[in-house]
């Protein structure tokens, strides 16, 4: 490896020369330039580089091959890219001019190569440029052999023999087929029939087969199948006669008729149904795939004959012209069920009132198909039209709940409102329809119902989660809704369905949420899958220790099932773990150690902190702030401090990040007023803050002392900050620049609150009272205001009571 690296390093400058004419560079330089570009990222890069190598072959090839280290060192990949690349390049007919030179280079290289694996590799390259070897054709057996095989009694050998014989003697094909059909060996008979089709085509043997047909036993079935698949209408007669059979042969004939198509077969199949033949069911199935238009035939047959199977066909083919007949057949006991089922296919909006009438009076068993029919009748209307029509019906019927599914199916806002109201009014059957409705507005309603009645939670949660998944765009709100769903669900199956949906939300926090369900046996398997899925898809950083912990758990859960897909998943997980990088650990400098600084956050350890440990999460050596806007989301030191030097590094991940450091603060208060102060952390360069007041810019003692305005580093880059607090004195240094250095008691002339006790304080810059300003001690906090801040390397020098 070393050799290649050194060449690449020394010649990385030579890449500048890249693009120059290859002839002006030495071959060594060309090779090095190319290696620096391996593997080529696209076809253009590939061509330019390989053209250079090819133009300088054989020397370039010899040099490259000479660089190969023994294969066991595992260091040859770039050379392999280059060598295989040039071989592929010159193997292209468009670039074959250099082929001989490359081959020459390879020949020299093979002779010089000492490593067997490399030698084999170079041999493969030589072969790639060699001639295409002729593929040896299997010798055909002699006629004598073929005939012997046919008598062998072993079906596969008989088949091969028959094929050879028929191929050699086309005149004997018909005879061979007939004898195979008569042999009683269907496996053999079918093979021979197939060969005959291939060698002379089915029509050529049709008459011979037809003559023998009467004497065939079970092979008749094979012949009829053969007629069907070859669409041999000349043998229609055999199909007709076979339709009289009620067993396998009859079924084969039905299928053949279906494939042959035409008026006659259609009439035959319909007649099987009308006569209630044992083949009626097969005929009905066949008519669905019939080779031709069956609509008129089915409609005519239905007009003549009241038959459930004809009704099914009418429904499937949407014979709206037959709707009156179908409504009539609802009243016929033998066709009642089939007619109701067919209504969905044959009705149009003008039939809707009639369907609603039936539905209102229907026996329970007919309700579902009639509801389906109602949806079918209205399906050509727009959602709004459908809702309006249904809304009118709702007032006319005795059982409005039977219309709810159709109402839900409209998916309109009005439908959500109607069904929500119905449920609230005590019509519990509205819930099923609320669960079916596809509209974002139903989401909060479902949540309300699930919260109010825990017994309904498991019924509601899966739908709730899937709608959230579909409609909620904000990933964190989505994650929060899934968390809500998981906490509402009782049954493990339901939890698992939510975990599954959660798996498609690739964020760091959804990873943490899914990970919590790895330890419960009932949810472990799904949680493992989701954890894997999230980790593989997320572009967000996940803390290394947590990532590894959860992925290892997931791997052991998935590995235990022994299932193939799970095995693949385990391998994928192992790869992810191997590729993840451990968290960097921050350390005190030698000088800080000497001075007595203490590490408060080194990258992983949150043990010196309290408060919102959900919102402030260690991610790969940093505290990642994800506290929600407006929440209490504050992180506090465990210890209280009086005087101190506080150092940390921060970095903004998105524009407009807002946070702050609370100084000498009690827990759970607004540090800007009830602590000594809040030192502002703010991306004040973001356009949204262009009207910022000066006491709000980064580093300001909020509301009391404006800081000198700095220009922040670009998003994603780290800044250092030091806050020194001694008595009433506070000094803020950012990136080495002092931006606040003041005595805050003096700044407000000793009036942290208005002397007159009012809420307006003329002595502070923001005109507000700061009752905590003279606190003697308190915690140090991060005051969260939304996502996007990273903090690391937090250190403190406790100065105690020292001034």
């Amino acid at each position: 490896m070393k050799k290649i690296i050194s060449i690449i390093l020394t010649l990385s400058l030579a890449v500048l020369a890249y693009g120059q004419d290859a002839r002006q560079r030495t071959v060594d330089t060309i090779v090095a330039d190319v290696l620096a570009q391996m593997p080529a990222k696209d076809a253009a890069t590939f061509s330019t580089n390989m053209a250079d190598i090819a133009a300088s072959a054989p020397k370039s090839v010899e040099i490259l091959a000479g660089m190969l280290e023994p294969a066991s060192k595992g260091a040859n990949n770039l050379i392999e890219y280059a060598l295989t690349g040039v071989v592929n390049y010159v193997s292209d007919p468009a670039h074959s001019a250099a082929k001989e030179a490359v081959l020459k280079g390879l020949a020299t290289a093979v002779a010089a190569c000492k490593d067997n694996t490399n030698k084999a590799y170079l041999g493969t390259l030589q072969r790639m440029l060699g001639p295409v070897p002729a593929v040896a054709e299997e010798a055909a057996p002699t006629l004598k052999e073929a005939k012997q095989w046919m008598k062998s009694g072993t079906t596969n050998m008989m088949s091969k023999g028959a094929y050879a014989l028929m191929k050699a003697q086309p005149g004997k094909i018909a005879k061979t087929v007939v004898s195979a059909l008569k042999s009683g060996n269907r496996e053999y008979a079918n093979a021979v029939l197939g060969y005959a089709d291939e060698l002379v085509g089915a029509p050529a043997i049709a008459s011979a087969v037809s003559k023998a047909f009467g004497k065939l036993g079970a092979a008749k079935v094979d012949v009829v199948n053969w007629i069907g698949r070859n669409k041999l209408s000349s043998l229609q007669g055999l199909v007709d006669s076979s339709l009289g059979d009620s067993g396998e042969l009859g079924k084969a004939a039905v299928l053949a008729a279906c494939k042959l198509g035409g008026e006659k077969n259609l009439a035959n199949l319909l007649s099987l149904i009308e006569k209630k033949s044992p083949l009626a069911e097969s005929a009905c199935q066949a008519l669905l795939s019939y080779n031709g238009d069956v609509r008129k035939g089915v409609a005519d047959a239905l007009a003549r004959t009241a038959d459930p199977k004809l009704l099914a066909l009418a429904g499937a083919r949407r014979l709206t012209g037959s709707s009156a007949r179908v409504f009539d057949l609802v009243n016929n006991a033998t066709t009642h069920d089939a007619a109701i089922a067919a209504l969905a296919g044959v009705t149009t909006p003008s039939d809707a009132a009639k369907v609603v009438g039936l539905l209102d009076k229907a026996a329970d068993k007919d309700v579902a198909p009639l509801q389906h029919a109602l949806t079918g009748a209205l399906h050509t209307l727009s959602a709004a039209e459908r809702f309006n029509k249904l809304n009118d019906f709702l007032y006319d019927v005795r059982k409005p709940e039977r219309l709810f599914p159709a109402v839900a199916q409209t998916g309109t806002d009005e439908a959500v409102a109607t069904l929500t109201k119905a449920f609230a009014d005590g019509n519990k059957s509205a819930l099923a329809s609320l669960l079916a409705i596809d509209n974002a507005k139903v989401v909060p309603e479902l949540l309300k119902i699930a919260r109010n009645d825990a017994s309904l939670a498991d019924q509601i949660v899966p739908r709730y989660a899937s709608l959230v998944d579909k409609y909620e765009q904000n990933p964190d709100k989505k994650r929060a809704a899934f968390a809500q769903a998981l906490s509402l669900a009782k049954d493990a199956k339901i939890k698992n369905s939510v975990l599954k949906t959660l798996g498609s939300l690739p964020t760091m926090k959804s990873f943490l949420l899914a990970g919590k369900y790895l330890d419960d046996k009932a949810t472990a398997y799904q949680a493992a899958n989701s954890v894997k899925q999230i980790a593989s898809k997320t572009t967000e950083e996940i803390d290394y220790a947590t990532l590894k912990n959860y992925l290892q758990k997931a791997a052991s859960i998935l590995g235990a099932t022994g299932d193939a897909d799970d095995g693949y998943a385990v391998d994928e997980i192992k790869k992810m773990i191997a590729e993840a990088e451990p968290s960097p650990i921050s350390q005190l400098t030698a000088e800080e150690k000497k001075q007595g600084f203490e590490m408060l956050f080194d990258g992983t350890d949150m043990s010196k902190w309290q408060g919102d440990l959900e919102g402030y999460i260690p991610v790969n050596g940093t505290i990642y702030v994800s506290a929600n806007y407006g929440s209490t989301g504050n992180l506090y030191t465990k210890k209280e401090y009086r005087n101190f030097v506080y150092r940390f590094e921060f970095c903004f991940l998105r524009p407009g990040v807002n946070n702050g450091v609370g100084i000498r603060t009690p827990m759970g208060v607004d540090a800007a007023y009830d602590a000594m102060c809040e030192v502002q952390i703010l991306d004040h360069d973001a356009p949204m803050y262009k009207n910022l007041r000066e006491y709000q810019v980064h580093g300001s003692v909020y509301g009391v002392v404006p800081a000198k305005r700095i220009v922040h580093k670009p998003l994603g880059e780290w800044s250092t900050e030091e806050i020194r607090v001694e008595g009433d004195h506070i000094k803020v240094t950012v990136n080495g620049q002092v931006i606040v250095d003041t005595n805050i008691r003096k700044a407000c002339k000793g009036h942290n609150v208005a002397p007159d006790g009012s809420s307006k304080n003329p002595y502070t810059v923001d005109g507000k009272n700061h009752p905590g300003m003279f606190n003697k001690k308190g915690y140090i906090s991060f005051c969260g205001h939304g996502e996007g801040l990273k903090i690391r390397n937090v250190r403190i020098l406790d100065l105690g009571d020292k001034k």
Partner: protein, 434 residues
Amino acid sequence: MGQSRRDFIKKAGAGIGLFTILPREVMGKMGGDNKFVAPSDQMTRGIIGVGGIGMSKHHFASDERCRLVAVCDVDQKHLDRALKAGQERFGTKLQAYHDWRDLVYDPNVDIVHIATPSHWHGLMAIESARSGKDIFCEKPMTRTIGEGQKVVKAVHDYGRIFRLDTWFRFKDTFYGLGTTVEPLKKLVSSGLLGWPLTVRISGATGFAWKFYWTGRENLIPQPIPAELDYDMWLGPAPYKPYHPHRVHQTFRGYWDYESGGLGDMGQHYIDPVQYILGKDDTFPVKVEVDAPQQHPDAVGIWRSITYTYEDGCKIILEGEGFESKGKVPYIEGPKGKVYKGFECTIPNIMDKLAELPDPEPRQVDFLDCVKNRQHFALDEIIGHHSCTVVNMGSCALRLGRTLHFDPATQKFIGDDAANLLINQPMRAPWASMI
């Protein structure tokens, strides 16, 4: 191979029996109805390769229609685990084989189930056909186009029944598409979308290309574990020093054995498309790739692979991370588009389709096919066609250039190096077996 062979296949593709409109749980089952099966009607099956897929609950199964009687693996741990599972799950002492040929020659085995890495599929299928066995083969069907041609010939010559194990052309909603293939087939055959069509198989239309199946370069040789017969595992593949990443669950990342996510998922995704487009009897004439340069050993990623048929139809594969942005149709024609979940730009499409016949019935119960000697709905010919689409893609990736293909001769046009990839050398003694 003349035109008649392909025509025969096309015609023979559908057989007697179940119809495609049957509920999906009835179709394609290995068994499971409750009627008594006489022992003489019972079929038997042996699995070669009981590592991953061979041990899955669908395949490592035994019932009264078809009994599992034998297993084979070159990893003793796999074999021991399968024997134990056979005892526990079926109360059977399975016949164990180390050499797959012994399983293929075992007279007690009717059906050979090939569940090895794909560099073995061709050889095993051919030898099984010669031995009078019917064949149930995992996808992708073969690692090279040439092996596929030879499997087709062997199955044909010896009159065998073959099933390739992917199924989206006849059951299940396929992947992210949210629909079974049938309405798509009906829609396309109806001509309502116009012609030619472009099919996009991409994350944007609901398909994942599993780019985690990439190989590693610079593998440092490792000692071969005692339980593994590595030489037999490699079989026809070139000898390369052992590294655990080459074998078992990660083998797909190496060109010697498969072709990464393309090999893993390609046939699942492309086979239904060949059916939908009515291309089961032909091949694309051109394949173009947009990809970083590929390593000779380790499979890498790609941005897109585009296939073009003679009539202008296209299949575009978009690699993970390189998907089209926005709402992208799965199938696009001059007169209409269809998206995930069968969302179609043609108004009232379901009503229009209701007027048309359903697709021709197909035989989708493999055991019935074996019993009645009928072609399975996804037989060796159809399997070879869709697998060749996959393998054309890997040839173009490896060479890093556009390739032109002649469907009649099944060879690349004017490109010797590409044609060398059609029939790749095999190690002794396996070269003489194919």
